[in-house]
């Protein structure tokens, strides 16, 4: 794909965004109405990414050997469905190395931010189902997990929001879609709340060292924006629920 298509001289990207614009970001929480279900859940659409997250716990660990006397065990699993891409993949993605790596990265990130020490001898299980992928998967997963954990009422120090940033020559581009992602080098970062602390940083491509700072700063700004969007949703959903409960 020509460089011009990805970022035109007029400053427009393939989908009409400017360099510092996020994609469409919509989310819901408590997606299930029934009480005998999960403790928390979220559904997130970020561009054409569609992810369902389901949280169970804190609960008794299924396996006694996993009991940690000090804190809860956090398990995150990713189910990349076969139909999630334009072309259906024939093999199951479950035990692919890349997926296992992503799971570990998410578990490490959230183990720091969730107050696991409050729930000793229990297990918290997060299941992610990717229904459709469109670039920037990792950032999208981070946001889904954050929403679902908060929905489940699990104590966290702060939000973690994630986004990917690509570098086109000298120009950082925020929140890459899949076309951009395949042709640019990119990084994914997870930011703690409204701070500038990074709780996750994935750089898998070559990025000139002197550009890293500008890439990070737009990424952090994007994460703050996402955090505000999630916060706005949770407040609104919370207020709705509170209104219903106030009949009591």
């Amino acid at each position: 794909m020509s460089r011009l298509e990805i970022y035109s001289p007029e400053g427009l990207r393939l989908d009409g965004r400017r360099w510092n614009e996020l994609r469409r970001f919509e989310c819901t929480t408590s997606t299930k109405n029934s009480s005998n279900n999960s403790d928390g859940s979220s559904y997130l659409e970020m561009g054409q990414n569609k992810v369902i997250a389901v949280v169970n716990g804190p609960m008794e660990p299924l396996n006694k050997a996993q009991v940690n006397q000090e804190k809860a065990l956090l398990k995150i699993s990713i189910n990349l469905t076969k139909f999630s891409k334009m072309r259906r993949s024939n093999s199951s993605n479950k035990n692919e190395k890349r997926i296992l790596e992503m799971q570990t990265a998410l578990e490490r990130t959230f183990s720091e931010t969730v107050q696991l020490n409050l729930y000793p001898r229990t297990m918290i299980e997060v299941k992610l189902h990717v229904l459709q992928q469109d670039g920037g998967m990792m950032g999208c997963l981070i946001n889904s997990v954050t929403l679902a954990l908060i929905d489940a009422g699990i104590a966290m120090y702060d939000y973690i929001s994630g986004v990917s940033v690509g570098l086109m020559d000298q120009q950082p581009l925020l929140d890459l879609n899949s076309l951009e992602e395949t042709s640019l080098s990119s990084i994914t970062l997870g930011v703690l709340g409204k701070t500038e602390k990074l709780s996750m940083l994935l750089i898998e491509d070559k990025i000139p060292l002197d550009r890293v700072e500008s890439v990070l700063s737009i990424g952090i700004a994007g994460c703050h924006q996402i955090r505000d969007l999630m916060d706005a949703h949770l407040r609104r959903a919370g207020a709705e629920k509170l209104e219903k409960l106030s009949h009591q």
Binding site: N33, T81, R87, R88
Partner: protein
């Protein structure tokens, strides 16, 4: 499935076995009639990269997602069984478990022959569509096969396939020979012998897939759409398929629990089939 106490089981059994004099109905734990389903919500077409998609949420919290994708394949040298792929992923069960595989094979059997008979996947003499159905069961509380079949039904009802350019279909009909190694080809490829599709126009697949009904047998009673509680005390369960306005094969018995496995009589079978014949048209109407 959660464990029940002895007294709970006994209570449920007696309620479900009982014959109320007034209306001859067993007392189901949620008060339903024997032929009443639990309400459900269905969302369609939320996956733009699939040809059809459904999310079905039943009132007990069962959640099922189905996606259908079609691709164009060279039909020469392919068996009748090669045009349909069903993948079933039930959370909490291994993909190679008996539970999942049994369900998968029932779905495949009930669907494949009818799909082939209808000929709706055919493009022209040489090419055909291949249908891939992916079923993801996010949560379930009783045997989910009936709900899966409904989700597949609505998915296929809303599935659109690319339309063939008129001239191309004729052209392709004349192509003969060309050794057909069965290599699936991307529909956008522009090779001569491949059918050419209209870029934007899609047409509905137009196939009504068979529905599968679950009839739980308890004592002399037959009840439709057994819930988790009912499943745990049912003697047996009949699985009855319905296609093209009539009851059809496969009809099969499955056990819903490990504690109450009992045989069934021809009367049960007759009663169940009658029940399905009575309710199925309503269900089809509700799903359309």
């Amino acid at each position: 499935m959660s464990l029940l106490s002895v007294t709970e089981q006994e209570y449920l059994r007696t309620s479900l076995e009982s014959k109320n004099n007034n209306n001859l109905q067993p007392i189901r734990p949620d008060g339903r009639k024997i032929d009443q389903f639990r309400p459900m919500g269905i969302s369609l077409d939320f996956l733009p990269t699939s040809n059809g998609s459904t999310r079905l949420v039943s009132s007990d919290g069962t959640e099922i997602i189905v996606s259908s994708k079609v691709e164009c394949v060279d039909a020469t040298g392919l068996d009748l069984g090669d045009f349909l792929v069903i993948d079933l992923d039930i959370q909490g069960y291994r993909d190679d478990s008996i539970y999942v595989n049994q369900m998968k094979s029932i779905l495949y059997k009930s669907l494949n022959s009818k799909l082939m008979e209808s000929g709706c996947l055919k493009i022209n003499a040489k090419y055909s569509f291949k249908l891939c159905l992916d079923v993801l069961v996010l949560s379930k509380f009783s045997y989910p096969l009936s709900l899966i079949s409904m989700a597949i039904y609505t998915t296929l009802q809303s599935t659109n396939v690319p339309m063939l350019l008129e001239s191309e279909s004729e052209k392709n009909a004349n192509i003969s020979g060309r050794s057909g190694a069965n290599q699936p080809k991307d529909i956008e490829l522009n090779i001569d012998e491949l059918p050419q599709f209209n870029d934007y126009d899609m047409k509905p697949l137009n196939f009504q897939s068979p529905l599968i009904f679950l009839i739980a047998l308890i004592g002399d009673n037959c009840i439709v759409d057994p819930s988790e509680l009912e499943s745990s005390v049912a003697d047996n369960c009949l699985l009855v398929s319905f296609y093209d306005k009539k009851v059809t094969a496969p009809i099969k018995s499955i056990s819903l629990n490990d504690s109450y496995i009992k045989g069934f009589t021809p009367q049960h079978l007759q009663k169940s089939i009658k029940l399905v014949e009575k309710i199925a048209p309503d269900v089809v109407a509700a799903l359309n």
